[in-house]
Symmetry: none
Subunit: 190 residues, 4 copies
DNA sequence: TATGAATGAGATTTCATTCAT
DNA sequence: TATGAATGAAATCTCATTCAT
């Protein structure tokens, strides 16, 4: 087995075990067994359990950011944006499944300060890009004037809802639920 | 010191330490010191660290449920409901502050299966009550026909937003943001 | 078993095991077993293996310093001094046996910088006191003019010789050898 | 790079690293890097870390023995012997510097029993040769009757003093100190 | 012959829980 | 009832050695 394959095995195993057991309950032994390598091998690639966790989270976070960014780039109206967001989210949930839940439902500040800062910066960037897009739509009268910060938060909530009902509630009508949320966000409850 | 006072001290200390350090990093020693009692004394009231954690979470969860329930009970229109939700949430955030964040941003299933089930039931009850209320408003044509599950999720998002921007982002325009979200939920982005 | 007894057991066991195995080869498990306590108990008294080692060495070093100091205090001539040094050294070798060898024949700088500094200061103090005494004897024409530093070194060599031939060579004519060395130091080889 | 050069690089690197870090703290990795060879290459020349250490020590020990032996061979009086000892020791200290301190100030028995035996034999041979020389001087009335064992120990102490004050105390008046010690050994303190 | 990625036994240290006082 | 000293299972990480290339 060549070098990149080992690292991929380790990262993939780390993903599974950290996700199922949480950071503290995860044992390096389990990750090693899951990856089919010796315990010491992991330490050829990272210096500590914490660093391995950070590597894993960074990979997964980028999946979520990518969905948002790709949806923004190609969209010229809010409807088109939501449409792409919907499809890309469903695709990502299908592909990366549960991996994402860690990113959304865990307070990572207690695991690594460095990671928390990185996450905050990342989140800030996503917020900025969403806000820019929303401001653009407001200038074009595509949507009415609202606080971009709040609108951005609600757009991210479409992702949150998808993850929550798929990963934690195990429901299978995710698309329907997301369409329902988008509908309310566009037209309101009244 | 009489018995009830000791238990209150322990619970209060547990609150502080679990919140600051997370479940795994919290040491029984620290809780004992914070409560001003001997380590062994804690085991007069609970059988394990896990049980102490469960006791603490249950207390805090009820704050959140209470806000929702009180807002439901007194409201005869969606606007009145949101209005009460806003005020009660702000009051709770002020009073119980960060305690709530644990309930929202920690995956409790890894700490205790029993707790997770309890949380799921609780959440289900909240959802049911919100759905019933929303169905009532739909029957009265106070709001248009939407999926109650999704609407309930979005209503809870008003709480989520408040907690996130207060506890994690330390912003001080929480009321404004919540009003903005409620406005979007009522009238939509268009 | 009361608290001071446990600590004495631990210190005594540490003495034995560190002496027989050396710092690195010594396992905390062995010390615990030797002391008849649990491994964790050791960490109630010291924070680390290194600190335990430092505590042990400091105790033993003081035995050696004490021999020198007591011999100095009571002596008014070089012969009287050597006489007392001889007897006190033999007594100490009898009582504390091999414990002392560590102090003389190990480069402690690699185990703990803090300890090395402490040892250097200690050594400096011993040297100072010996030099003062020797200067006094020189002023009184009890001995001829020599470099106090060298004479102090040679006096300490009486201790070194005793430890070497007893601990490492296991000879039993230690007193005779020490008397021989003192004789040469006083009268010279010629 | 040809074979003998590799072995010389390894031995030289082992010297540096063992000396600076001590046996246990020395890593085979560091020696390999220092020698500019792969880690596995070292195992072409020795079977284990211990064997590499033994090889290194044996080389260094011979420097010390050589000084004694060369001083013995050419000397026909105790003064001539000490004179040569002085010059050869200073030369050796200059050339091999700190390497020797390991031989004097480390308890090698804990690293390798085989090595300790070898050292003891070596030491015994040195002692024998010194004793023979001293006996010869006593027969010729060049020096008075003393225990040869003790006199031999004190002669070796001239080397010890040189190493101690140069390597550990970093003093630069080594020659003066050694002359002072030789003077006391010859004429005594009285 | 030369390499260095891979290995896993074994080290130190932590901390929830117990129990003698 | 209240205590905290004592415990030991279990965690992370190291590094001498091997072996496929």
């Amino acid at each position: 087995m060549t070098k990149p394959n080992k690292w991929q095995s380790i990262l993939s195993s780390a993903n599974d075990v950290f996700l199922n057991c949480g950071y503290e309950k995860t044992k390096m032994d389990d990750i090693a067994v899951g990856a089919g390598v010796g315990k010491g091998t992991i330490y050829q690639y990272v210096d500590s359990k914490e660093e391995l966790f950070v590597q894993m989270i960074k990979t997964n976070v980028s999946y979520v950011s990518d969905v948002l960014m790709e949806a923004i780039e190609e969209s010229h109206s809010i409807e088109a944006f939501f449409d792409r967001l919907l499809h890309k989210t469903l695709f990502m949930l299908n592909k990366h499944g549960e991996k994402i839940s860690f990113v959304i439902y865990e307070d990572l500040s207690r695991i690594s300060n460095q990671l928390q800062e990185w996450m905050a910066e990342n989140q800030e960037k996503d917020m900025q890009r969403l806000s820019t897009m929303l401001q653009h739509f407001m200038d074009q009268n595509d949507i009415r004037d609202v606080q971009p910060e709040v609108a951005a938060w609600l757009i991210q909530d479409v992702l949150r809802l998808g993850i929550y009902f798929q990963v934690f509630r195990k429901q299978d009508n995710i698309e329907e639920l997301m369409r329902g949320e988008i509908d309310i966000l566009l037209k309101g409850l009244k």
